[in-house]
Amino acid sequence: MAAPIRLSVPGTLRYRPIAVRAVAEAARLVSCSVQPDPRDPSADPLTIDVRHPFDTAVVSAFMEIFNNVVIHAYQRRGGGMIDLEITLANDGIVIEITDSGRPFDIDNVTPLPTDLDEESLPEGGMGIHIAKTMLDDMTYEPGPPNLWRLYKRLPAAQVAVGRS
């Protein structure tokens, strides 16, 4: 297992793109997804490429948890840092997200309706559901410091290919 990647950013939305890009690139190291050809003039170097399902899951979940920390822990006012520790393995990725803001009441999250129709389409409260569903495991330890731990496993077939 490689040494973890560590990144600290101020707990505001301004720094979100930096954190998302770091997580996307880390996910790509695990999934071995194809990098865009830098010689391709049509390739936008600023695009975050998460077409691989593993990258999609990791980045989608992370974006929601980062949003949650900025909104709930730091109340959109910043005033603290968001510390990331990303651990890469052959068979998956672990992302620990630590903040020093207000604890989040994860037990009070309202589940999404099971049968969505035009009337019940939600306009909020989707973030935790997206993160939990995208991941293989997600835990939260209220503090402070508050600690989110996200785990996503590579599909077994891809792990086997990577080892061969």
């Binding site: 939305l13 793109p17 989608s60 974006m63 929601e64 900025v70 969505l116 306009e123």
Partner: protein, 100 residues
């Protein structure tokens, strides 16, 4: 190239969203959405073929547009959703509502 673009013809309004629709960009789209809903269009197509990333804030903005259009008697469809945005709509089981 701007992240949002609105094109209007006599019977169709097309909203194209590019790049990332997230907690940082959704507030700007919300202003555009208010203008679209206020114009009471009969038919709206949201083109997501050049959208790479979406989060729950982006989904919420599109749901708000959908409800606004429907409440005004119009219709809205989403076209071109792919990769991560399509995965999010499917996860939220909105793919059937939006006919994706």
């Amino acid at each position: 190239m701007p992240p949002f673009e609105v094109q209007r013809t006599s019977d169709l309004t097309t909203l194209t969203v590019r790049g990332s629709l997230d907690i940082n960009s959704a507030p700007a789209l919300a202003e555009e959405i208010d203008q679209i809903v206020a114009s009471r269009p009969g038919r709206v197509v949201v083109d997501l073929s050049t959208l790479d990333l979406i989060d729950s804030s982006g989904v919420a903005a599109l749901v708000k547009l959908y409800k606004g259009i429907r409440n005004a008697g119009g219709s809205m469809t989403i076209s071109g959703a792919r990769d991560q945005p399509l995965a999010i709509f499917k996860l939220l089981r909105m793919d059937k509502v939006f006919n994706l």
